[in-house]
């Protein structure tokens, strides 16, 4: 085909349009340009000189005819193009989708805020409901030791507790060191470097030991619970459990919940020790405080009530993490994409809930003078 020649030509005004060349997708952009300047007053179209016609070409040919309000029988086609043209014409006849009017930006922003708020509310109510359901199931299962899932519980204790031990201790050790460093930087100006020990002890006994463990487990374990249960949900395993007459809450949720309620306080004890050890490392290596003095100072500062206020939060955090992780797993719908979305949501929800509860508890304990 002549690359410079016109593909749409009209020899005389108001007469017949003559088309030539290959009306295919490869030339569609050029055809569309010529089409835009084509006359809209022709009486007929002669398409018999077209070489190759494909569906893109047929669509453009129909557009050209529509410009002059031509009926289809005013288009002369080669017989081998006729079938294709008719199929495309039938498809185009069905009405166009109405353009959806988009609301102004501020309305859409309000809409998003509203949708998010109501979903947070719904999630909250759902979580409380799920908590209740789990408690009822627990109460029903407790008096019947034969229904306790010991193997499963121990398995989850290992997975979410023991296996997390190295990570939790390493990170707590590092945070302990950082807290001691920060304290030292400020307290050195007052010549009160020894109080670094008080700072580290207070911080880890009351807050960081438990909080750090809870945040780590929220990331590590809540996501694992959601992914495990979510995959079962998407493969209809949960439905299978139900049809076999078993209770998915008793079978899947209780072992995870009990395992975490036992393991999180234990882990937070280790985290507290590791944090104090981190402080000790900084104190002896960088501030020149002897080990004996550090340990004596810890003995003087640490009281049982400090430690118990800190540790009392651990079972609450454990429940929040386990319940959110399991509940998000049950919310998974068919697709693999949904498992990913729910897992993200579980981590975000459990970490933020843990931090919110911790803040509320801190205020409460302070007001109570504990």
């Amino acid at each position: 085909m002549d690359p410079t020649g016109k593909m749409i030509e009209m020899p005389s005004a108001g007469g017949k349009l003559v088309l030539q060349g290959d009306w295919s997708i490869a030339h569609a952009a050029r055809l569309a340009r010529e089409l835009a300047s084509a006359p809209s007053d022709c009486a007929a179209i002669d398409a018999t000189d077209i070489g190759v016609l494909d569906s893109a070409g047929a669509l453009l040919l129909l557009n050209l005819a529509a410009r002059s309000d031509l009926a289809q029988d005013r288009i002369a086609l080669r017989s081998e193009h006729r079938d294709l043209f008719e199929v495309i014409a039938r498809a185009v006849e069905t009405e166009h989708a109405p353009e959806q009017a988009r609301a102004p930006v501020w309305i859409r922003a309000l809409d998003r805020i509203g949708v998010t708020c109501s979903s947070i509310l719904r999630d909250g109510i759902g979580l409380v409901g799920f908590f209740g359901l789990t408690l009822v199931t627990l109460a029903a299962a407790l008096p019947r030791p034969r229904r306790w899932r010991l193997t499963s519980t121990v398995h989850h204790m290992q997975q979410s507790g023991l296996d997390a031990l190295p990570l939790v201790s390493l990170l707590s050790f590092l945070i302990g060191a950082v807290v001691a460093f920060l304290g030292a930087t400020v307290l050195r100006d007052f010549g009160a470097e020894l109080f670094v020990v008080d700072l580290t002890t207070y911080a880890f006994l009351r807050e960081f030991g438990v909080l750090l463990t809870a945040i780590l487990l929220a990331g590590r374990t809540a996501s694992a619970f959601t992914a495990q249960i979510g995959t079962m949900q998407s493969r209809e395993e949960i439905d299978a459990i139900r049809t076999l007459g078993q209770d998915p809450i008793e079978l899947l949720v209780l072992p995870r919940l009990i395992a975490l309620v036992i393991m999180l306080p234990l882990l937070s004890v280790v985290a507290t020790l590791a944090g104090l050890l981190g402080g000790l490392a900084v104190a002896t290596l960088s501030l020149g405080i002897p080990v004996e003095m550090y340990v004596n100072r810890v003995y003087e500062t640490a009281t049982l009530s400090h430690y118990l206020t800190g540790l009392s939060k651990a079972p609450v955090f454990a429940m929040v993490i386990a319940l959110i992780g399991c509940l998000e797993g049950f919310k998974v719908t068919g697709t693999a994409q949904s498992v990913g979305e729910r897992t993200t949501s579980a981590v975000v929800q459990s970490i933020s809930t843990v931090i919110i509860i911790n803040a509320l508890a801190a205020v409460f304990f302070m007001e109570m003078g504990w």
Partner: protein
Amino acid sequence: MVSEPVIRISELKNQFGRQVVHEHLDLEVKRGEILGVVGGSGTGKSVLMRAILGLRPPQGGSIEVLGETVTSGTEPTRLRKRTGVLFQDGALFSSLSVLENVEVPLKEHYPELSPALRRDLAELKIRLVGLAVAAGAKMPAELSGGMRKRVGLARALAIDPELLFLDEPTAGLDPIGAAAFDDLLKTLQQALGLTVFLITHDLDTLYGICDRVAVIGEGRILAIGALSEVERFDNDWVRDYFHGPRARAARDTKAQGGH
């Protein structure tokens, strides 16, 4: 030109580790035909398709598609512009809407098209496969299995390919949906002059729309030809397949003039 085969495979060898899937496999696909490829599970139908598409380099032999050698080791870029593929579950991009999915090949191969024209072409293809244009705004996760396959077909047809590969297009559809899909395929194939390489287990599809049938087994093409010839081929699997109760039922419906 007309007699020149669109796909020519000779002495193809495929193996995974020590397990040989294909050996001395020869196959030719003619222009403008629907070739149905059948075979038991694990005979390597999908592996053959992936080899033809250049997605999996074979251990030996040569494959020529539309005059271009696929097995030379370089990416067959010209070929990508002339072929369309429908994978088993549609393989739609989950982060894009239906319309955007169909627009992807247009954007890639014909970037010079204006957005409006591209959208028109994509909508035309969505309507061609029998969906409402309104479906274009949906996300793949919202679609049923049958709709996903239709959208996959629309995407495969987006750039008006000469050669279409279909991997079990009717698997997982209900019989009515499967029959409708067969009709759609035949209509489009005739109107657009497509050559179709079709992997299937569906006897109705074979009897309904295939011009020729190739049977894969024992690592090679056991038999190829019109259905009436392949049916008579002397092999245990072929006999069980084409003369079982399901095949008889499919043949009967065909004889009654509809499917």
